[in-house]
Amino acid sequence: MSAMTALPLHDLTLAQQSQALNSGQTTSVALTQHALDRIAAHAALGAFLHVDADGALAAAAAADARRAAGQTLGPLDGVPIAHKDIFVTQGQPTTAASKMLKGYQSPFDATVVAQLKAAGVVSVGKLNCDEFAMGGANENSAYAKARNPWDTTRIPGGSSGGSAVAVAARLVAATTGTDTGGSIRQPAALTGITGIKPTYGRCSRFGMIAFASSLDQAGPMARTDEDCALMLDAMSGFDERDATSAEQVRLHNGDLTANRPGVIGRDLAALSLAQLADPARPLAGLRVGVPQEFFGDGVSADVLAATRAALAQLEALGATLVDVSLPRTELSIPVYYIIAPAEASSNLSRFDGVKFGHRAQKYGDLNDMYRKTRAEGFGPEVKRRIMIGAYVLSHGYYDAYYLQAQKLRRMIADDFQAAFKVCDVIAGPVAPTVARAIGSSTDPLQEYLADIFTLPASLAGLPGMSVPCGFSDSGLQRPLPIGLQLIGNYWQEAQLLHAAHAFQQATDWHQRQPAAQA
């Protein structure tokens, strides 16, 4: 304990901060003030769109008062975190990184925000992202580019770019993100942190500004699997205000249980208990599926090498590698980029300049007001996706595009179920390359193609995780992180977190720190 608290506060993980609070070695106000100071010192990283110093310090003081009175709310009471600016928050502005929502003040909290608040977390502000979560580089933010702490000339990935930067640069220990086609996993991989997208339906989408409703899921980003587990456990649970929220989830032992906070922690504890039989081989009995389609020509040599080394590490920990096939991996790109824009064009029709958000200054009739308002409020990528969506849903094209994509989506989900007959988790790269330079891509289609390994699990609604598994220094000025993707079957988040934990006990990739941000 004494060694731990000798560390600067920002080097403590969320779990360590929680312990330090419990033992009285620090206070929530001290942790929060330290986070605020670091956020200010590293403002050039573009991680935050809004910082709420007064609100955060007041919440921290309240957490300290609860603790003093013996009424602490749980392990997260008093730890500072921040929310992706896709979650609506009462008392802090919400923009979705769009000009469309500049100055928007939500009259309510997203359910995930409310749940974390109920667990006592202190929200220090709102994190940068791609506009309406559309993008993979955080270059589509209407306000600021976010920079990769490992090399500030590089992208941090996206769309949860600010969420990744804030954790990687140790501004806060954990953040929330959202993942529609890889928006938690890919930035986690590119910045060397850990992130998990849960099973569709595990976390409420209420108050998460909708991009593609059948794909969107909230999840945590942090440095360790342990911190992700703490966060996800507090964020998850059934919510009657989300029509697709799951009332029940399946435990690792196959039993059904009510979907509520705490379930993942208990499931994880049961798995950890089982591993005590053979501590040197904590993953004994785990069958890791290796899809050949994730190791093809499109993947750069450094990513391939790090991913293969990670597979060998899993094997050394007792896991068995099994060849599996996900034959429609490449087709997941057009399937996703039909379905997600179709849902986006429908969801974003609410931005009409009437009830909230931007309205054009000058316009003629009502229709002209809509057209000018939306032309001014949306950025190029959002417009592109609205156009694709409007087209594929339009009369005469629906069957050929949207319906065909939804049928292929079923085939992609069935491919996973066939693979899960012979394996428990699937492992492969998160992204085909390390982080590219900011401003180096001019072709939106190339950006879509880079999502190839995160899209299949999104389409199937399966949980997916990114775990730091190495660095590339080939031809680079500074080493850049690489992430291992683990995909589990429905509701098997505990199994992913358990495998990630064993991996992180045996490796130190997740403990590395960007030198420039020390």
């Binding site: 009259p107 099973t199 029509a243 697709t244 790109i333 064009s345 009739d365 009502l366 879509y448």
Partner: protein, 99 residues
């Protein structure tokens, strides 16, 4: 199959987006590049496959939940209208639509 400038205009109208000429030209190129990769998807035989509209229906029957038709939220009109660009006496204001 390639989109024409006329079709791009029509889609922009459907989407209520005013596009400048240069935006429209760039959009035409980008959409056509995009739909070129979509052709691979269209070629797959999916006859007899049920569409997967919501992911969990891959493994179980998903039924839409219905709730009681009762008021669950209190009156929060002030807060709910506070973000409106133009309003008056509890009403959202829009340009005149009926002469």
């Amino acid at each position: 199959m390639a989109l024409t400038p006329t079709e791009v205009s029509r889609i922009a109208q459907l989407a209520r987006l005013e596009l400048r000429d240069d935006e429209q030209a760039a959009m035409l190129t980008q959409l056509n590049e995009f739909f070129a990769i979509v052709e691979k998807m269209r070629a797959v035989d999916t006859s007899g496959v049920e569409p997967l509209y919501t992911p969990l229906s891959a493994i179980e029957d998903v039924t839409l939940r219905l709730r009681e038709d009762t008021v669950t939220e209190g009156d929060n009109r002030e807060a709910n209208m506070a973000n409106a660009p133009a309003r008056d006496e509890g009403l959202f204001l829009v340009p005149k639509v009926i002469e």
